[in-house]
C-alpha cells in the first residue's frame, strides 16, 4: 500500500486549550503525547503525516469536519480517545497512539469501552487509517458504517510485542502531567518537493 507521492512530514502547532466543539458534524482526532513530535512514524514505519492525512481524508470524503487535539497527560489509548470524544461536537472521536494503535470512541460510552478498536498496530496501513476516518465520520452523521475489518496475525507477537512495549514506554516518558488537552493544527510539508 504505497503511494508514489513525495514524502510528507507533519508538525502539530499548538493553538489553544482544547474546548468542547459545538458543530454536530465534526470528528475530533485525539493524538497521544509523542505523536508527530517525539515520534514521527508508527511501529511499521507509516509516517505520522500519512496517518493524519488519511484519517483527515476519510473524514473529509464523508463531508464531515475534523479537529485535532493533543492529549498530554496520559498515554492510555482509551483515555485519549474518550477525552477526544468529550471534546467532539458530534461526540465521536478517533484516538491514536504513536505506535499506531487506534480507537473510535463516543462520549457516552464508558471510558474502557469503544465503538471500534484496532489493537494490532503492526497491521494498520494507510488504507486502514482512511477507512477508520471514514467510519468515524459516518458515526458522526448518524449512519451505520460496517466496522473496518480487523486483521489478525499470530506471528505478530514474536515480531512486534517487545517493540510495541518499548514504544509504549517511550510514549509514557512524554506525558506532561497536569497539562490539559490542546487544540493543534497539522502543518504538512513535502520533504521531496520534486
Amino acid at each position: 500500500m504505497t503511494t508514489a507521492t513525495p514524502d510528507r512530514t507533519v508538525s502539530l502547532r499548538e493553538l489553544s486549550p482544547a474546548v468542547r466543539g459545538t458543530r454536530p458534524d465534526e470528528v475530533v482526532i485525539a493524538v497521544s503525547p509523542a505523536f508527530a513530535g517525539h515520534f514521527t512514524k508508527t511501529i511499521v514505519e507509516v509516517p505520522h503525516a500519512e496517518v493524519l492525512r488519511q484519517l483527515l481524508a476519510g473524514i473529509e470524503e464523508q463531508g464531515v469536519g475534523a479537529r485535532l487535539v493533543r492529549v498530554r497527560d496520559t498515554a492510555d489509548l482509551a483515555a485519549i480517545a474518550h477525552i477526544g470524544a468529550k471534546l467532539s461536537g458530534s461526540g465521536i472521536s478517533v484516538g491514536i497512539l504513536s505506535r499506531g494503535t487506534t480507537m473510535i470512541h463516543q462520549k457516552d460510552l464508558a471510558r474502557l469501552s469503544n465503538l471500534e478498536l484496532f489493537p494490532q498496530s503492526p497491521l494498520l496501513d494507510p488504507a486502514v487509517f482512511r477507512m477508520i476516518g471514514s467510519n468515524a465520520a459516518q458515526y458522526a452523521k448518524g449512519e451505520s458504517p460496517q466496522p473496518v475489518p480487523t486483521r489478525n496475525d499470530q506471528m505478530a507477537r514474536p515480531r512486534w510485542q517487545a517493540k510495541a512495549a518499548l514504544l509504549h514506554l517511550k510514549e509514557f516518558e512524554c506525558i506532561e502531567a497536569g497539562r490539559g488537552p490542546v487544540e493543534v493544527e497539522a502543518v504538512f510539508e513535502l520533504t521531496d518537493a520534486g
Binding site: 482509551a78 464508558a110 471510558r111 474502557l112 469501552s113
Partner: protein
C-alpha cells in the same frame, strides 16, 4: 459430623477416593460409593450429589496441613465455609472485592453477612483485611466515580 474429622489425616490417607472412601459423603449425605451408574440411570442422583461437602474440604485441609501447605489448607477452609453460599451470591461477593467496587461500609457489611448469615468467619476475616488495605491504598469506591470495566 463423624468422629473421624477429629483424628487428623496423614499423607498416607491420600487419595481419599481410593484409601478412605468411607470418609467421603456428598452434601446430601450419600456415601461416595452410592455415586454409581445405576443410581445415575435410575434418576436417584441429582447435580447436588456431585458437589463437595464442607466436611470433605476440611479433610483435604488436614491433608494439606500434613503436607506442609498451610496456605492451601487455609484456602480449603475458606472454601468449606463457602459451600453453602449460592453461586450468584459468591460471584457477587467476588465482584464486591474488586478494586473501587465497594465502600468501607459495603465491605464491612459483606464481612458481617459472611460471619452471621453464612457462618464464615475465615472468609469474613479475609474481607475485613481487604477493607483495611483498600482504605490505605485508595481502593475503596469513591462517590460519583466514573464507571469502568475490566480491560488491561
Amino acid at each position: 459430623m463423624s468422629a473421624s474429622l477429629d483424628t487428623g489425616l496423614t499423607r498416607g490417607d491420600y487419595p481419599l477416593s481410593v484409601n478412605r472412601p468411607e470418609l467421603l459423603r456428598t452434601p446430601t449425605g450419600k456415601p461416595i460409593t452410592a455415586l454409581t451408574m445405576d443410581a445415575v440411570v435410575s434418576g436417584e442422583l441429582s447435580a447436588e450429589d456431585l458437589r463437595i461437602a464442607p466436611e470433605t474440604l476440611e479433610l483435604q485441609a488436614q491433608l494439606a496441613d500434613a503436607s506442609n501447605r498451610p496456605q492451601l489448607a487455609m484456602n480449603f477452609r475458606r472454601a468449606a465455609e463457602m459451600c453453602a453460599i449460592p453461586d450468584a451470591e459468591v460471584l457477587g461477593m467476588y465482584n464486591a472485592l474488586r478494586p473501587r467496587a465497594s465502600t468501607a461500609a459495603g465491605l464491612a457489611a459483606l464481612a458481617d453477612r459472611l460471619e452471621t448469615t453464612w457462618s464464615a468467619p475465615v472468609c469474613a476475616g479475609l474481607v475485613r483485611e481487604a477493607a483495611e488495605v483498600y482504605a490505605r491504598r485508595d481502593l475503596l469506591a469513591r462517590a460519583g466515580a466514573e464507571d469502568g470495566e475490566d480491560t488491561p
